[in-house]
Amino acid sequence: MNYNIKEVRGLQLAVQNVEKGYEGRRVLKNVTFDVDSHEFICILGHSGCGKSTLLNLIAGFLQPDSGSVTVNGVPVKGPSKSRGVVFQDHALFPWYKVIDNIAFGPEVQGKSKAEAMEIAHKYLKLVGLEDYAEHLPDQLSGGMKQRVGIARALASGPDILLMDEPFGALDVLTREMMQKELLRIWLELRPSVLFITHSLSEAVYLADRIMVMKDGDVAGEFRVTMDRPRSNQHPEFIGLMREIQKLLTDE
């Protein structure tokens, strides 16, 4: 839809020397990296190493203690619809039905009610929950909530998609379906994606580049050059898996 516009502007995200701590305990220590427009980046790292914190900084929810987060050179001062977020704990609006949760973005961005509903239905179908449009979030299973969260973020058409373990609560099948859909959407709309996951193979399957975090630092970056769709039998796939596994396991 707004493919062209995005193609033109191209989004350049830069995280430079960012430090961030809570109550004096430093969580992020001098993190630096760039995200090119249309790039798909996966972030791997141990529980508690600061992945969500980093995402929150990029989303504009937190401000770095030092260093900077910029988009096209402009410091991120707060959240914006150009940076869509899928939250680790879903963060669905409990008072809205599933369909209204998804229509929220289009609606507040000025689309007409009908248009917003149409978009919402499209993405609801995409995540396989057509039958649950009229349910309240509280009436959904864990995996369903997660999918609604993804549909909601997608429906508002962000330039950067920040996803915090979006497929964590999904079974293998649903997960594969969602991975494929995400890639399809990414290829169609070409947002930049920052994707936190604990699944190594998922990272290799999806990413242009994989960032491994350790203890608040970027411990390594891996570029994935295979064509998509990728097979886990591909030598690069296997090689990357091994390499990254080693980095993660190393003490």
Binding site: G60, V85, A91, F93, G105, L136, S141, S156
Partner: protein
Amino acid sequence: MSKMPDSLVASKALVSAKGGRMLRKKKTWVDNGLLPVVVFFLLWEAVSTLNGRFAFFNPIFLPAPSAIVREAWYLAKTGLIASSIAASTARILVGFAIGMVCAIAVGVLMNKYSRVDYWLSPILNLLGPIPALALLPIFIIWFGIGEFPKILLIAWTTFIPVLTNTLDGLRSVNPTLIRSALSLGASERHIFFKVIFPSAVPSIFVGAQVSLGLGFSALIVSEMMGAKSGLGYIIVDARNYFKMSNMFVAIVLIGLEFSFFSYLLKRLERRMVTWRKNGMRSAVEK
């Protein structure tokens, strides 16, 4: 995982026995809330009748409901009851509405701008507890004895509890939901109407419930100034001339009127807040 909003209880009930049970409970509470009231009045009547026989105490201490009804009938014939209910209801409703709207507006401003909070909070702390009875002469001085000061007094009394509860409601919004909305492109207005407000609504209703009750207190004081009818007027008159049965008539009318409005508020709340789980009772199915 298994809690369901009230609004769904009904449809659920059509299906399973369990649901059926829950529906009955709900219905009882709402519809048959009358039974306890009836029993209450019957007990009271019984006590009064016994007292009438054994003369434990002077019946003016606690007139029997039947005596109150007789008294009410007597007053009704003079037209006082009808006009009083009309006048008081109008005053309460208008004052209550103004107080609610102002409280919510001020609450939102205080929540949003810490400057406003900073300047207003201590002032409201000073002015908030001024009792209506102390305001009365000041209001008469400033605003005369017409309808305006009466309504203002009720609005003022309504204002504080709703404000307090509104502020609490606003404070307890889940911040992740606000983050979520902001990233979806919500403007401040959207954040307010689609996130903060829905989330604060239950608290606001609690404030409204409290304020509604207080409104009747303020009514009495306000109807001290120049009213010719009104439930407050009946009470003040009864107090001045020791008409205890009139006092009880007014009290019972206030109780019934409040119950009615309170019921409407609860209906409205249930309609607006379909999504909220009811903690303890929905934790475990029995």
